[in-house]
Point group: C2
Chain length 214, copies 2
DNA sequence: TAGATTGTTAATCGATTAACAATC
DNA sequence: TAGATTGTTAATCGATTAACAATC
């Protein structure tokens, strides 16, 4: 039962697989499945049972010999590991099409990510709403952050403005940035940035299509 | 000058770094920079010069001893490698917020990805437009594909409908799928799928925020 | 009990980094 | 020329897979 989280730094690859496990387990639970083995999980996800057991062993012992894993239990444990049982507050900067899509994605709220404000530079959208949040003018970002505790900043502005926004966020104490601008941000080392480079994966698709036909 | 593409399968990691190189080089070129060394590139991207040279060596020799790389040249070569000099046609299935965001992202068109049609199940959006494309009813998808050559299908429907859409796409000869539904698609082995699991990266951010504070 | 499956240690595989001769 | 930097081979590192004792 000893947790193995002690000190050891968890590889990035393991963390992203945790998110996959979480997703699959959520489907299994919704499907009313009660137990699952690493072999079955592996088949569903296209990875080896060994890898699953190895990954989980970073965090503890969640299974039972001869039986496998209780779906509802493993789901809850992984949810805890990912920090999805905590509440997170988010601000959105840049209410374009993508920002709007993210704001409206109700699953985030369900998982404990609460959007508390949205900002844009364009005066004409100010006062309108996304996902029941009133859009504020970008110039109010700093003062808002001073008065409201915010965990995560979601950046969906053009690349040219992203660094500037990141600077305000980090100066005002935001500790996590979810960045959709196609640019590498410089931030203090205690701030965590997750980049989502959507177009990179389209380019990879293009490459693999080409590779196949040659 | 011998290309090394011969047979050897390129690791997925290398492909996704190619997309990064492409992005950085595009910035350098726009900034009017003429030459760059692997050391400089590495510093900008936070990876080792060795890795850059190793990656590039999969595809040929693009540099010059004592000088480095000519930015415009390397940019063009990587663009070729990624297949971005070819024209690709795309259809979009699911015109929700995310679909709308992708359709409006003009950079794709600039890179040779042309959206030729968009589909949705909701009758009320049919006939309206996204990015100058008239939205069609989902039931017309199959017949459209029979009459028009399409390279890539972009899936932005809910998870529950994604497999069904993927089946139609692959049956009608689409060879690449860009999937935003949070589910693993089963497709024939000659079809290439790129998944973008946006929420996975938010979960990873949540994990790393938690990890830091413990 | 016999069969199944875990958690973990050891072996293998692949990817990253270091080193260096070649040469601009 | 001397200094810089490539492309590539070899060394190292880390991640994945296999194997197996423990045990439900």
């Amino acid at each position: 039962m000893t947790k193995k989280t002690d000190g050891k730094q968890i590889p990035q690859r393991v963390v992203s697989r945790l998110a996959m496990y979480y997703r699959v387990l959520s489907q299994l639970e919704q499907g009313g499945i009660e137990r699952v083995s690493s072999r079955e999980l592996g088949e569903m996800m296209g990875i080896t049972p060994s890898q699953i057991r190895q990954d989980l062993s970073y965090f503890g012992e969640f299974g039972q010999q001869g039986y496998g894993y209780r779906v509802s239990n493993l789901y809850k444990e992984i949810s805890k590991i990912l920090g999805l049982e905590k509440q997170h507050t988010m601000v959105l900067i840049g209410v374009g099409n993508l920002g709007r899509a993210l704001a409206s994605y109700t699953n985030f709220r369900r998982r404990g990510f609460e959007l508390v404000a949205a900002f844009d530079v364009r005066e004409e959208v100010v006062g309108k709403k996304v996902a029941d949040i009133e859009i504020k003018l970008m110039t109010e970002l700093r003062s808002f952050l001073k008065e409201n505790p915010v965990d995560i900043g979601v950046i969906t502005v053009p690349a040219s403005q992203a660094q500037q926004v990141a600077d305000i966020l980090t100066q005002e104490g935001v500790k996590g940035i979810w960045n959709f601008a196609p640019i590498k941000l410089s931030v203090p080392e205690n701030v965590i940035v997750e980049h989502v480079h959507i177009s990179d994966s389209l380019f990879a698709l293009s490459f693999r299509l080409r590779e196949k036909n040659s």
